[in-house]
Chain length 327, copies 2
Amino acid sequence: MVTLNDIAKMANVSKSTVSRYLNNGSVSQKTREKLDKIVQETGYQPNLLAQSLKAQKSNMVGVIIPRYGSPSTNEVLKGIDSIAYTEDIQLMITNSDLDIERTKKNIRLLQRQKVGVIILLATTIDEELEEQLRTSKTPIIIVGQKLSGLPAYVYQDYEAGRLIAEHAIKLGHRHLLFVGVTEEDYAVGVLRKKGFYDVAKQNGAQVSFIQSDFSRSQNYEKALKYLPQTKATYIAAATDHMAIGIFNACMELGVQIPNQISLSGFGGYSETRNVLPHITTIQYSHSEMGETIMKAALQTLETGKNRLHTELPVQLLIQGSTEELKG
Amino acid sequence: MVTLNDIAKMANVSKSTVSRYLNNGSVSQKTREKLDKIVQETGYQPNLLAQSLKAQKSNMVGVIIPRYGSPSTNEVLKGIDSIAYTEDIQLMITNSDLDIERTKKNIRLLQRQKVGVIILLATTIDEELEEQLRTSKTPIIIVGQKLSGLPAYVYQDYEAGRLIAEHAIKLGHRHLLFVGVTEEDYAVGVLRKKGFYDVAKQNGAQVSFIQSDFSRSQNYEKALKYLPQTKATYIAAATDHMAIGIFNACMELGVQIPNQISLSGFGGYSETRNVLPHITTIQYSHSEMGETIMKAALQTLETGKNRLHTELPVQLLIQGSTEELKG
DNA sequence: CTGAAAGCGCTAACAA
DNA sequence: TTGTTAGCGCTTTCAG
């Protein structure tokens, strides 16, 4: 491997001259040309490890994702990556596989790697992890979970629930059904539902609730069982994926969407367009979230500080699966 | 930041002793206990950059992906990650965003990071890139593209095309339609199609062809236009995603699947199960591919060598969208 | 079992 | 403009 030292010897100059040539540039025309040539010929590339060691930090940003393949995570990554790329900073992506211990381990690893900032796409946080987050010398940006006193980026999930309910009410629906998930997931299980309920009740609508999980199959099964006996004319599923499961059950049972029942999700992923009619949903602008986070990360890289939490707005996307209640 | 040197001073021993304590272990009981305590209290963590610099290499594996969010890429990543995790080796994932220049740049970056191996999930390769691949000091494992003389991992795409055609023939279909993509994509555009054609012709079936692209919408549009006039009773789309577009068009036109027309895809992603009936497809075991690659990477890490190309088998997955031709 | 010393590749004073 | 020197944090001979 050709090193800076090699180059120096070949050119009969000192290492510092080569280093200057590579960085600042205060070198004579002559030596510059000489070095140009040598670097060209040897294909020399500075060793990043050495540079980072010297600088006491790398210009890398660590990202901890909950798992591969989640559409939302992918969108966020795209946003992060787009900014990182234009700013020429390198991403170190690690996967915690929904495992809190792996999350902790990944944080340690990234710290040891001397990344400048860590972006944590969080799911659950226990005490030990919280402690780790609070005491980390490396700044950590938390996404998706609020922790008092720690900087975090979240969506307006309560607002999202309200938007869907308002939409349903506006269409004239009075019998609503919310298909939700465990309250352990604060954003999806609590906030979306609460927003939905609050608006529904304010408007005197009837709301019923089914607890389900995130899988398509589970929602399909539940819907098959529950649909025939429901009086609801509007079903709000807590995620798009869940909505797809319910959608399939409707097809199976010959229940027409949106004629007989309106159906909506949350998420705004392209999968809502995999079925016809497309499913009304709440758009979470994940890529925008990614960009926002990455910009915050950049600022943190420069200043060493990061600001407190920010909530990103969401948007109602009306598609074909919801319709005005038939007289 | 607390360093090995700090620990040494605190314990009144030399750096080498601490280093030995951390690695080999040839230390007296006494000093070991002393160090245990200090390390515990200070929360000391060895600097990975320094370690890697010293060792002249990091135990990282670089992965270059074509873009975020592709289902196949995600599956491959899962496979890679699962092995990497158990072997405790760190992944450095970079995104080339389907841009060949970015690919080249990423390779250089990873080389400078001193990763042990680079895994390249390739799309297109031009001369310059090929040169880069051939001359790289860092071993590079290529996935998805064959290059003579370079180690690579690919799928049996020709075989995949054959399997689908055999399936159609076996069901009694005589009028087949293949919806494909540009031949610039060798695996999808050429091999799958060729396998399909070869079997179809061997069996005296009629085959027609429509050139489309990878998007759902484009295939939806094309199908809307073409379906009413086709005599085909079996449509083979070149990917699952394309098949979904065609599926939607059938729904729109009231063409019943599989009663009137059988439809299949390639890919085996879960999206084939987003619609009812589920779509018959060819399973590409991407996660298995990921595991295979990562194992190869590990071997390369140890031996410094990597073997020549390997083809991974594919599998027919029969679901509800294909059916025996009605008399 | 332990310590001194050298060195991985690079940068940054400080002199010259 | 250039070279000398020291040092980032760690590992690894080689003596003791």
